[in-house]
Symmetry: C2
Subunit: 576 residues, 2 copies
């Protein structure tokens, strides 16, 4: 490809609404343009990257024996009503009507569709296990689309669905997909980690997220410094911490003016934060849930929702809190209504239960109780682990220190079990002729998000540093002066030679200053740059530079194509 023909309108300024590197650089390098909130066009360079990621996904899916299909993006409302998810999915689902007023959604996922597609035709255990997959646009009406491809409203996803006769079969299929995902992200050059995850609202039991580790990630990942344990922080269950024993003193009501935070309170009382017990309250599908954790801990709302059950979790309003005898800002179970575990729950984290002579809200404005000993003083509460891990926690498996890092979820594998096959009455006949629901799994890869994740991981202040496998072009040939005929001839010769060798190469034949061409090469992030300059004509050498490592070398023109090939092979072998 000739750069003079390539449509890649680079920008001098980074658009104001682009907050993270992947979004900034894809816009700046002319790979991506915004057409509406969360809606993007991929320009030629961006499209090339997408096609390369898609090809890697396709090869690895095909290698597992999974079969590619293509379901409609527009799905009839009926099947979502049948599964019960039409309303459960909430406002994140795009809905529309046709000219006859029939309802449809733009598929955010395809469990309903594939289950109804197969339910009358996948009839025998002999046809199973079966894995079907597709790659297409998915839709999610995000409240606040942002971060470019990280949280867009239309995005490319690979989704696969598996059908087994029993749980044992599902486990095997799950592992096959897990391994394939491992290969996909390895080949894409990502630095990633499969982590145990919460199965949340999709149903099912066993699930892993594939997390690309990056500071811009919206998720937090706990990983053990010693063993293999790694989990989404929402899934990680911390150990219960003990505290030095004390004799239980009598509860005392104390005035605590101007203590709007736990830190204020601890400072005012001159006690460690660990001696306070803080309250956070939620509304879960209309139920009021008061959560108590130790002052230095945070509540894991996913754990709370799993415990209570429900589709939505939101902060509780002051009105509903007061209706249960709770005083916002000074809440605790003490003096509040007795939890009925129907409309009003109180859940106390076990570490909070262990606080001796602690301080907690008195349900009276400006007052707290001191010398609270929850085991003695909290009545009728539910004790369950509802706190997030902190970096001071240890691995729940082996006790070694843990790390907490940020990650971008690029894939997820999921054991669904019979949730959808039962809801949609999709059965097969087993070896004994007995009808049984399919035992299903589902498996997703965020194709466009994988692109963003790669950039988040591999960039510097000049631009992107693509892994070779997904780079828009592998090599760029840059003549320093486009007016120097000799340089142009050498550059074009190398371009032609590399193309003939099957290298994905761009020739920057533009009539631009050298600085502009070098900056664009760094910005767009071609893995290898060959520079043809004055010396090239003089002593028949060119400069080869590797974007990712910064390695530079001078090679004889005659050897340079072979050297570039060798460098690319080495980068590929290291998934760089």
């Amino acid at each position: 490809m000739l750069a003079s023909k390539l449509y890649s309108p680079t920008l001098r300024e980074i658009p104001a609404d682009a907050e993270i590197a992947s979004h900034q650089y894809m816009l700046k390098a002319g790979m991506l343009r915004k057409n509406g909130s969360g809606l993007y066009s991929f320009l030629p360079l961006g499209r090339r990257v997408t096609l390369k990621v898609e090809q890697i996904v396709r090869e690895e899916m095909d290698a597992t024996g999974a079969q590619e299909i293509m379901m409609p993006i527009m799905q009839p409302a009926e099947i979502w009503h049948e599964s019960g998810r039409w309303s459960a999915y909430g406002p994140e689902m795009f809905k529309l009507q046709d000219r006859h007023d029939n309802g449809y959604c733009l598929g955010p996922t395809h469990e309903e569709l594939i289950t109804t597609l197969l339910r009358n035709e996948l009839r025998s255990y002999k046809q199973m296990p079966l894995i079907l997959w597709q790659m297409q646009n998915k839709y999610r009406d995000e409240i606040r689309p942002r971060f470019g491809l990280m949280r867009s409203r239309e995005f490319v996803m690979k989704d696969a669905y598996s059908f087994d006769v029993d749980e044992e079969g599902l486990h095997k299929t799950y592992q096959i997909m897990y391994d394939a995902y491992d290969r996909v992200f390895t080949r894409c050059g990502l630095n990633f980690k499969p982590v145990e995850a919460d199965s949340g609202q999709i149903g099912g039991s066993h699930t892993h997220e594939f997390m690309a580790l990056a500071a811009a990630g919206e998720a937090e990942v706990v990983s053990c410094s010693k063993c293999q344990y790694a989990a989404d922080i929402e899934k990680a269950v911390p150990n219960t911490l003990d505290m030095a024993a004390e004799d239980a003193a009598d509860v005392e009501l104390i005035e605590t003016p101007n203590c709007s935070t736990i830190e204020d309170l601890a400072n005012f009382l001159q006690i460690p934060v660990e001696k306070t017990i803080k309250a956070v309250a939620f509304d879960v599908d209309g139920k009021t849930v008061l959560c108590m954790v130790r002052g230095d801990h945070e509540v894991n709302d996913v754990a709370v929702q799993n415990l209570v059950g429900g589709n939505t979790i939101e902060p509780a309003t002051d009105e509903e809190l007061k209706a249960h005898g709770l005083q916002p800002g000074y809440m605790s179970p003490m003096g509040a209504d007795t939890p009925d575990n129907e409309s009003f729950y109180v859940i106390v984290d076990p570490t909070a239960m262990n606080v001796p002579n602690g301080v907690t809200g008195a349900n009276k404005h400006g007052y707290h109780y001191k010398n609270v000993n929850p085991k003695r003083d909290f009545q009728n509460v539910t004790v369950a682990t509802i706190r997030l891990m902190t970096k001071d926690d240890v691995c729940p498996h082996c006790g070694a220190p843990i790390d907490i890092v940020r990650g971008i979820e690029v894939g997820q594998v999921f054991e669904l079990g019979t949730k959808y096959s039962e809801a949609l009455n999709a059965t097969f006949l087993d070896q004994n002729g007995k009808a049984k629901p399919y035992v299903m799994g589902c498996y997703g890869i965020g194709v466009t998000r994988t692109i963003a994740a790669a950039i988040e991981q591999f960039h510097d202040d000049k631009g992107i540093m693509w892994p070779v496998a997904i780079a828009p072009y592998e090599v760029v040939v840059v003549p320093v002066s486009s007016k120097d005929e000799e340089q142009m001839k050498i550059a074009e010769g190398l371009y032609t030679q590399l193309k003939g060798m099957g290298v994905d190469v761009l020739f920057d034949d533009r009539n631009e200053r050298a600085g502009v061409k070098f900056n664009d090469a760094d910005l767009i992030g071609y893995p290898v740059r060959i520079t043809v300059g004055k010396k090239s004509a003089a002593d028949q050498t060119v400069e080869i530079k590797v974007r990712r490592t910064g390695h530079e070398e001078v090679a004889a023109i005659a050897d340079s194509a072979a050297r570039v090939q060798a460098i690319l092979n080495e980068l590929r072998a290291n998934n760089m």
Copy 2:
């Protein structure tokens, strides 16, 4: 691929709502399933065909220097308001709103999107000509979706858009795309014809449709038996026919009871149909249009609409006809209101003008006029060619006889000119620094419709006969008895050998009767079948059968893979 693993649920019965061969066979062969009105899932075999067609399209687009991009399917309403097409497009466009009540459509086409995408960035004549293309789902809310992939509501389209500095550049680009389309459909094995077409509502001037010739086609194509002339019947302009001269007699009012058709009338009066002048009336955007053609001719409503101008053309209601002095069933300009060419038009085809002493309606129930000589008797009418060609017409270019055949529109190339760039204010700076609107073209290929067209052209009463280039698998190896170990071993050996040679081969290893396997092979339509039977073990031969030609031969096992390769190459060389 092993047939025992392949998910291709064949049907014994053809579903009742499948009316044409492509729809019937894709359902029956387990390639396609319906998920809603005009919404389909492609099962593995169908998906494989789609991928092959897409690959051919991609290769030919890339070969032209056109650059692949991907625009969003969901398009903001604003740009359609800006171009004026939001309402003009009518109920065929799927519209939806997001959670913030912003309006969107599901793109039926992308002129607005690409023009606004480029308008601030494609700024210089130096960047042009530029061709950008994409391949994605398109949406059209058909009143009555039918014929499977021929008229579905969600379908895969390749759409390309070109940007030139002037008309001359556009003509060149148009020809490049025209030639690429020719190669695409040739490689897909279609029997097709590029025909001149009407530019209709998209705007622009010059356009060709690529028509796959097939009886199930919804379009009619006029083609010359001698010269290159070929046109969509709606575009073809027939010559004006003369009639034997007669002395003009005086007009006479005659009673014509029970003559509800032109044929009744001619029979009743014992005159040839050619001596009658028939009336057809339309409502075009609220204007009443009376059209007069000779009794044996039909009105070309596209020609009428182009003449009058307007977005919608529908049959006129009795009420509006009577408001203009017209009597439904007995209409003519005689005795009706004088046309004002604003709210009431009368258009007479020039051949109808030539009818001597003809018969036409008297605008009185049960009465006609005879001895009507339009040139004398029709007052203030517009004379313009508004009839469709018939097989009795001759080529308007060379006068040779013509054929009229049915066709499926699989592609269209279109010179748009500056319609969208002017409406959307999208300009570039020319060599003199002057701002000018892009001179645009657009180019579409119905990818999924191409699949249907191939089946319409190549099938028999047993099933599909795929062209090799787009067959789901090129070869099927069928052991007659799956219980015969020797046969299975030979079959598997051939399968492995062919796979190693890069042949796209399926091994029918299913435990089924030979008849079932043969029927499925014919139904699914693999181009070549290798049968391994009793004799294979005995005398080391297999039978090779070519689905398309019916050719059968016996080959030594040792030679058979090479023979199959040679047969496939020969089929490919002939685009079969």
